[in-house]
Amino acid sequence: MLGGLALSKSVKQVRAVAVTGATALMALAAYLVIEFLSLRAAGDVSPMLFTGSWTWFAPLNINLALGVDGISVVMIVLSAFIVFAGVFASWNLKPLTKEYFMWFCLLSTGVFGFFISIDMFTMFMFYEVALIPMYLLIGVWGSGNKNYSAMKLTLMLMGGSAFLMLGLIGIYFHSAPEGGQLTMNILEIAENNAIPHEWQYYLFPMTFVGFGVLGAMFPFHTWSPDGHASAPTAVSMLHAGVLMKLGGYGCFRIAIFLMPWATQELSWIFLVLTGISVVYGAFSACVQTDLKYINAYSSVSHCGMVLFAILMLNTTAMTGAVLQMLSHGLMTALFFALIGMIYGRTHTRDIRKMGGLMQIMPFLGVGYVVAGMASLGLPGLSGFVAEMTIFVGSFQHADMFHRVFTVMACCSIVITAVYILRVVGKILFGAVQDEHHKTLTDAEWHERFAVVTLILAVAAIGCFPNFFSNIITEAADPIMKLFA
C-alpha cells in the first residue's frame, strides 16, 4: 500500500489507492475472522493460530514471530475498521495528500504489526513504528498549538517506551531458566515462567507504566488531550481508536501474561491509579470547552477503564476490557470523525460558540448523538456492553478493596452522562449561536460513509455482543487461569 501511494501522482490517485488499500484491509480482516472462527470451530485449541516465525537476528534469538488469538483478531478488525473510516474522514485533506497517506499507512502498519506479533522485540519495533509517524502527522497536518502537542506526545510516549525497553530487556535476560536459550517469544517465556520474583517486582511496573503511558493512565495522560486536540481528524481517530489500545493490549500481553506473580502483588497500585484515571478523566471532561479536549478526557476515562478491568484478573473483566477497547475505539473514532467534520465547517471547536447545529446539519447531529449515547452506555450500542461486562466482572472479585473500587468506577457512568449531555445540549440543541453557521452544509457522501460505517460497527457490537465476547473469552480464559 505504501508502495502504491508512493507511485501515485495526483490527489485522485492517492485517494483511490488509499481506499483500495483500506478496503483490502477490511476484506483481509474479515477473512481472518472467518478463518479463525472456522479453525476454532474445528477444535484447534492452541493459544495462537496462524503462527509463523522467521529468524531475524540469530545471536539474540530475535524472530519475527506472528500469530493471533481471539483478542488480537478483534483488535485487528477494529483497526481495519478505523483505518477504513479514517481514509474517508480525511478525504479532503490538504496539502501534501500523498505524504499524509503514506505516513498514515506507516502508522497502520505499526498498529497491525503490533497486534500480530508474539515476539517482544518485533512488538516493540512495531510499537515504535506506530509512534513515530504521529509526530509528523500532528506536527505537519495538525492544527492549533501543534508543535507543542506533537513534541509533548512524542516525548512522553518515548519516555514510556524507554521504560518499556528496560522492562523488555529485563524480561529477555530472565526469559529462560538458568542456562537455557534466552528468547523474545512471548509464548515461550510464558511457558518457561522463569522470571525470578524479585525481578518481576521491578519489571512489572516498568512494562506496565511503559504501556500505561500509551493507555493514558493517570498521571501519564496529559499528552492525550493536547495530542488529540492538535491532530488532524483521521489521526485523532486512529490514535484514540487504536493506538491507545496498544497500551491496554501490551499491558495484558506482556506485563500481566509474563509476570503473573508480580501482577498479583502489585496490581493494587495500578488499580488505584487507573481507578483515579476513570473518575478523574470524567470529571475533567465536565468543564472543558474544546470539543476535542472533552473527548480526549473521556478517552482517558474510558481507557482507564480498560486498564482497570485488566487488573481485575478475571476472565469476565478481561473480556470486558477487550470489549471496551473495541467499543471505545469505534466510538471515539466516530466522535473524532464528527468533531473533525463539524470543525471543518464551523472552524471552531469551542462549545460556547456553537449551538443549534442540529437544525443546520442534521446528519452530523444525529451521528453525534449516537456517538454520545454509545459513550454514556446506551444499551444496544457498544459502550453499554463493554462497561457492564467490566463492572460485573470486576465485582466478582473476591476482595472488598476491588469491589469498592468497582463501585467508584461505576460512578463514572453518571459523570459521563453529565458531560456528554452538556456537549450535546450546547452544540446541537438550542438556538443557533452564530449567524454564519446557518449557511453551512450537511455531510458529504464520503463523510456519511465514514460515519455510517462506524455507527454500524458500534451497533453491531451493542446488539450482538455474545459473538465478540465469546471470541475474547476463549482467548482470555487460559491466561486468566494463571491467577485462579
Binding site: 495522560h221 437544525q359 446506551l378 444499551p379 463492572f391 460485573v392 465485582f395 453518571v414 449531555l421 455482543p465
Partner: protein
C-alpha cells in the same frame, strides 16, 4: 410455545422506530403518523391477545393449585459474563407483566391516535413517531424482562427515549435543559440500580427473576450474613435497586426532573411521565416483591420515602399555576401512593393486599392520569398556554373536554364508582393494616389530592374567561377527542376489574371486599375536600389570594417546590462543577502537565547550560582540561600513597 407471538409486541415497535427514524424524512407526515399508529394498533391487539390468553386461557396448565405460573415465553442468551451470570433477552409472562402490557399498549395507542391531531403541523412529526415507537419498545421490553439485567437494559433505553422526547423541541433551551436534567437525575438513580444489581448478583449468582423470587429466602441467605457499614449487604442491594426505581418513579428527593419534563409535548407527558415510564419503579419493586418483603429495613425505607413524597408532592401541587406542573406533582403523589402501598404490604397482612392494591392503582392511575394529561393537552392546544391564568370558563368552549376532565378528577379523588375509588381504597386498607400512622397520613394526602384537582378543574373550566383575542378556544379534532372519550369510559369502569383474582403477590387469588369503614372515611374526606375546593375556587374570588398572603412563606416555599431545584442546582454547579471538576481540570493543566512541562524545560535549560561548556572557547577547554588532569593526578597520588 403457545404465547410466543408475544415477541411481536417487541419487534413491531423497534422495526417501526428504525424504519421511521431512517427513512421517515422521506415519508409524508400523514403516512408516517398513520403507519406508526397502525403498527401500534397491531401491537396493542397482540398484547391484548397474549395478556387475555394468559389471564383467562386455561388450556396449558397455567394455573396449578390456584396459582398462576410464570411463563418464560422466550429466552435468548444475549451476553454471557460467567457461567452463572448471563444476560438473556426473553419474555416473561406473569400477572403483572401481562397487566402492564395492557396498560402500556392501551395508553400508547391512545397517545398515538391523539398525537395525529395534537402534533399536526409540527416540525419533526416523523421523528416524533419514531421516538414514540422506541419508547413503546423499551417500555414493553422492560415489563416483560425475564431477568434484572434485561430490565436494566430496557430501563436505560426508556430513559433515553424519555430524554429524546422531552427534548423534542430541541430549539427551546428550557426543553433541552429539562431533558438533560431528566436524564442525569435518572442516570444517577440508575447508578444505584446498577450497584444494587451487582451486589445482588454477586451473592445470589443469578440475574433471573424467576430464580430470585421463587426462593427468596435463599437469595437473602446467600449473602451469608455479610454486612457492610452495619447493614446486611442484601438490604444495601435492595435499597440501591429501589433507588433506581425511585429515580424513575420520581420519588423524593429524586423527583426534580419530572415537573421539568413537562417541557416535552403533552401527549408524551401523558404517555411517559404520567402513565407508563414513571411507574417503572413501582413495577421494579413489585417484580422483586418476594425478596423485598424479607428485608424489613428496606421496606421501611420504601414506606417512608413513599409517604414523604406523597405529602410533599400534594402540598406543592396545591399552589402551582402551570396546569401541567399540577398534574406532574399529582403524578408524583399518586406514584408515591403505589410505592407506599408496596412498602406496607406484607404477605401476612390481608393476604398481601398492598401489593395487589399497588398494581391496581397503577392500572387505574395510568388510565385516568393519561386522560387528565390528554385533556390538558387539548386545553393547551386550544389556548396556547400552560398557565392557568390564561384559562377560564372553558366549559362553554370545550364540553367534551370538560366532562372528560371532570371524570378524571373524580377518579383521582376516589369517588365511587370511578376507578380511583377502588384502588385507593385498597391502598388505604393495606396502610391501615400495617400501621394506622401510614393510614391516616395517606388519607390526608388523598384529601389534598381531591382538593388540588378540583382547584385545577374550577380554575380552568369555571372561572371567568380571560380575553382570548382572535382565536377563541374550540373543541379539539376527532383524533384527539376519541382517546379522551375512550379513556373516560375506561376510567369509569376500570374499578370493577376483579384485580384480586388476577394480580396478587403470590399469583394466587385474593379475596377482596371493600372495607366500608375505610372506604367511607376516604370518600367523606374526598367529598369534603372537593367541597372546600368548590367554596374557594368555584368562582374567581379573593379568598385564595388572601389565604396565600396569610401564610406567604409557606406558600412561596411550596410554589418554589420547597427549593429542591435550587438545592440541586447548588450541589451540581457549586459543589460538583466548581469544587471538583474545575480543580481537577486545573490540577491537570497546572500540576500534572506542569510537571511534565517542567521536566522538558529542565532538560532544555540543562542543555543550554551545558552548551556553554562546548562553546568553542579554547581557553575554557584548557582550563577544564588542566584542572581535570590535576584532579585526576591528585586523586591518583593520594590513592597511591
Amino acid at each position: 410455545m403457545e404465547l410466543s407471538y408475544t415477541v411481536a409486541v417487541l419487534i413491531i415497535p423497534i422495526v417501526m422506530f428504525l424504519f421511521l427514524g431512517i427513512v421517515g424524512v422521506k415519508l409524508s407526515k400523514k403516512t408516517a403518523g398513520l403507519l406508526g399508529t397502525c403498527a401500534m394498533g397491531v401491537t396493542t391487539l397482540i398484547a391484548y391477545a397474549s395478556a387475555l390468553t394468559y389471564f383467562f386461557g386455561t388450556s396449558q396448565g397455567q394455573i396449578v393449585d390456584g396459582v398462576r405460573q410464570q411463563l418464560e415465553v422466550l429466552d435468548i442468551t444475549w451476553l454471557q459474563f460467567t457461567e452463572n451470570l448471563v444476560i438473556k433477552l426473553g419474555i416473561l409472562l406473569d400477572p403483572i407483566s401481562a397487566m402492564m402490557l395492557i396498560v402500556i399498549t392501551t395508553v400508547s395507542l391512545m397517545v398515538h391516535i391523539y398525537s395525529l391531531g395534537y402534533m399536526d403541523g409540527e416540525k419533526g412529526f416523523q421523528r416524533y413517531y419514531a421516538f414514540l415507537s422506541l419508547f413503546t419498545f423499551s417500555m414493553l421490553g422492560l415489563v416483560v424482562a425475564t431477568n434484572i439485567f434485561q430490565m436494566y437494559i430496557f430501563w436505560e433505553l426508556v430513559g433515553v427515549s424519555s430524554y429524546l422526547l422531552i427534548g423534542f423541541y430541541y430549539t427551546l433551551p428550557a426543553a433541552v435543559s429539562a431533558s438533560k436534567k431528566a436524564f442525569i437525575v435518572t442516570r444517577f438513580a440508575d447508578l444505584g440500580f446498577l450497584l444494587g444489581i451487582l451486589i445482588l448478583s454477586f451473592y445470589t449468582k443469578t440475574f433471573d427473576f424467576v430464580t430470585l423470587t421463587s426462593n427468596p429466602s435463599a437469595a437473602i441467605t446467600s449473602a451469608g450474613g455479610a454486612t457492610f457499614m452495619g447493614c446486611s449487604v442484601m438490604a444495601w442491594a435492595l435499597t440501591l435497586i429501589f433507588m433506581g426505581g425511585a429515580g424513575k418513579s420520581a420519588m423524593f428527593p429524586l423527583h426534580i426532573w419530572l415537573p421539568d419534563a413537562m417541557e416535552g409535548p403533552t401527549p408524551v407527558s401523558a404517555l411517559i411521565h404520567a402513565a407508563t415510564m414513571v411507574v417503572a419503579g413501582v413495577y421494579l419493586v413489585a417484580r422483586l416483591f418476594p425478596v423485598y418483603c424479607l428485608e424489613e429495613g428496606t421496606m421501611t425505607v420504601i414506606t417512608v420515602i413513599g409517604c414523604v413524597t406523597a405529602l410533599y408532592a400534594a402540598a406543592v401541587a396545591c399552589v402551582q399555576s402551570d396546569i401541567k406542573r399540577v398534574l406532574a406533582f399529582s403524578t408524583i403523589s399518586q406514584i408515591a401512593f403505589m410505592i407506599t402501598s408496596l412498602g406496607v404490604a406484607r404477605p401476612e397482612l390481608h393476604e398481601g393486599v398492598g401489593y395487589m392494591a399497588s398494581m391496581f392503582h397503577l392500572f387505574t392511575h395510568a388510565m385516568f392520569k393519561a386522560l387528565l394529561f390528554l385533556c390538558a393537552g387539548a386545553i393547551i392546544h386550544a389556548v396556547h398556554s400552560n398557565e392557568m391564568s390564561k384559562m377560564g370558563g372553558l366549559r362553554k368552549y370545550m364540553p367534551i373536554c370538560n366532562i372528560a376532565f371532570l371524570i378524571g378528577c373524580l377518579a383521582i379523588s376516589g369517588i365511587w364508582p370511578f376507578a380511583g375509588f377502588f384502588s385507593k381504597d385498597e391502598i388505604l386498607v393495606a396502610a391501615y393494616a400495617n400501621s394506622p400512622v401510614w393510614g391516616i397520613w395517606l388519607s390526608a394526602v388523598a384529601g389534598m389530592t381531591a382538593f388540588y384537582m378540583f382547584r385545577l378543574y374550577y380554575k380552568i373550566f369555571w372561572w371567568n374567561n380571560p380575553d382570548y383575542g382572535h382565536h377563541t378556544p374550540h373543541e379539539a379534532p376527532m383524533t384527539m377527542t376519541f382517546p379522551l372519550i375512550f379513556l373516560s369510559l375506561v376510567s369509569i369502569v376500570a374499578g370493577f376489574v376483579p384485580f384480586g383474582d388476577l394480580v396478587t403477590w403470590n399469583r394466587g387469588v385474593l379475596h377482596t371486599q371493600i372495607v366500608w369503614a375505610v372506604a367511607g372515611t376516604s370518600t367523606v374526606i374526598a367529598v369534603a375536600a372537593i367541597a372546600l375546593a368548590t367554596v374557594l375556587y368555584y368562582k374567581e374570588n379573593p379568598v385564595p389570594t388572601k389565604m396565600a398572603d396569610a401564610c406567604r412563606g409557606l406558600w412561596t416555599a411550596a410554589y418554589k417546590r420547597f427549593y429542591m431545584d435550587e438545592l440541586y442546582q447548588f450541589i451540581t454547579h457549586k459543589i460538583i462543577f466548581a469544587c471538583i471538576s474545575r480543580p481537577i481540570a486545573w490540577f491537570d493543566r497546572r500540576i500534572i502537565d506542569g510537571t511534565f512541562d517542567l521536566l522538558a524545560n529542565v532538560t532544555n535549560s540543562a542543555s543550554y547550560a551545558v552548551r556553554k561548556l562546548q562553546g568553542g572557547t579554547i581557553q575554557g577547554y584548557v582550563l577544564v582540561y588542566i584542572l581535570g588532569a590535576a584532579i585526576l593526578a591528585a586523586v591518583s597520588i593520594i590513592c597511591l600513597i
